[in-house]
Structure formats: structure tokens, C-alpha cells
Symmetry: C3
Subunit: 99 residues, 3 copies
Amino acid sequence: MDTHDLILVTIIAEPVLEDRLTREIMDRGATGYTITEVRGRGTRGIRTGDIPGQSIRIETLVTVDVADALLDRAAEAWFPHYAVVAWASPVRVIRGDKF
Amino acid sequence: MDTHDLILVTIIAEPVLEDRLTREIMDRGATGYTITEVRGRGTRGIRTGDIPGQSIRIETLVTVDVADALLDRAAEAWFPHYAVVAWASPVRVIRGDKF
Amino acid sequence: MDTHDLILVTIIAEPVLEDRLTREIMDRGATGYTITEVRGRGTRGIRTGDIPGQSIRIETLVTVDVADALLDRAAEAWFPHYAVVAWASPVRVIRGDKF
């Protein structure tokens, strides 16, 4: 089977950040993303009460280099100012598309 | 702890494909699946505009052999005709169920 | 880049279990979680019909020790009584937060 190894980058953020984050993701070399409406509760200040607050999950399949650029950007520009959580994990993707 | 190693196969597709894809997934040996309503934007033609379009994410926990069969099927039968993205990643699952 | 290695624990369960499971997750050392409304079908008894039933996906980023405690708890206390599926996978998380 023809697959390639990519990195799945997942970002949990406040809904108001969707336009900014997805634009920055595409600007750094991603070719697409998926957004899921979720509810979150955490120490990052999204919500401190008992009721989980609305958040979005942004996922994008990217090369190792783009993943590093996105995590760098998250750590430097998003993390200090917003309640953002971001992580990366390796996945095996079916080919036929440019990423 | 009693766990086993399985493959989490994730498929992003147009909602109209749900019945077909889930039937093919079960036919190839999966014992279940999870569906999430998502919004997607990508180069695979789901949407090329600025507004992310509705998609579904199908996830299924399967053995390595079933995962390979699903990715093969995705590459051969789904990928050329539909805006489908599919990937696989290894996970550790709590036992007690047949997969 | 400053990242740390954590475990992403994912739990699929009936919506009625949300309060119990999230309380137990936090009690065992998690500092947050994300919930997604999903539809599920599987052999674990969630639904046996043709129409996928409503479920929730609970995700939490935790240390290896907390992940093991959660999977142990899932196997011992949740799995025998409820239609719960749970798995773990390693991820690389941007730092700046305590987990």
C-alpha cells in the first residue's frame, strides 16, 4: 500500500480564534484542516467553573517541518495569550494527495 | 493492565458517503465505529472556498490486517472518486471486547 | 521547541456517564478534558441496531502514570458494567502548562 508518514497536529482553542489560527496554519504550509465543535475544561483558563465551555478542535495533517513550525508558533504567539492546547502525533496517511 | 495493540483508522469524508463507507468498514472486519460531525477544508476538493464545508469523521479500532485492508480499499476505491482523507495510528486499547 | 511527551487517553461512552467519568478522571490527576458529541456503533452494546446511537468522546492529556491509572479504572470499574471503549496513544505537547 502506498502511504506516507505525516504529523497530525491538534489544537484546542476558543471559537473566537478560528479564523486567526486556521489562517496561520494555512500560511505555514498546511493544505487543509478539520474543525470539530467540542466542550473543554482545563487548567489553561478556558473554563475554571464546573460547566465545560465551548471550544474548537483544529486538526491538520502536515509534514514534520510544518508541524514543528506550527508548534513553535503555538508556543510563542498563541500560548502566552490564549487558552490554547496543542499536540502532535505521527500517523500513516494514504497517498494520492499533496500535503 | 490488560491491553492490546490496535490501529485507529480515521476517515474524513463527505456526509453522503456515510452509509457506504461504514458498510464497507464493517464488511472488512471492523466491529464498530464512531462518527463525528466536523467541518473541513482541504486540497482534496471537499471545499475550495473560504467557508469550511460539512464533513464526517469516521473512526474505527481494528487489527493491523483490517487496517491495511481498509487503507487499501480507501486508496483504490474511494480516493480516486471522492474527497476522502484517511490515516492510521497505533493505539493501546483496554481489553475485554473482541475487535 | 519546548515540548513534553504525554499520553492522550480517549474514552467513548454513553452520555449519561459524563459526570461520573469526568469526575473520576479529574480525581486521578488529569488537569482537564475535552468532550465531543459523537455517534457510535459497536459490539460493546452501545447500539446493536442499524442506527448509530449518541455517545460522547472524552479526551484527556495526562502523564504515563495517570494514563495507566485511568485505563486500570476503565478496565476494572467501567468496562464490566457500561458500554465503554478506551484507548491510549503517545503525543508530543507544547509546554507552558502543568499536566
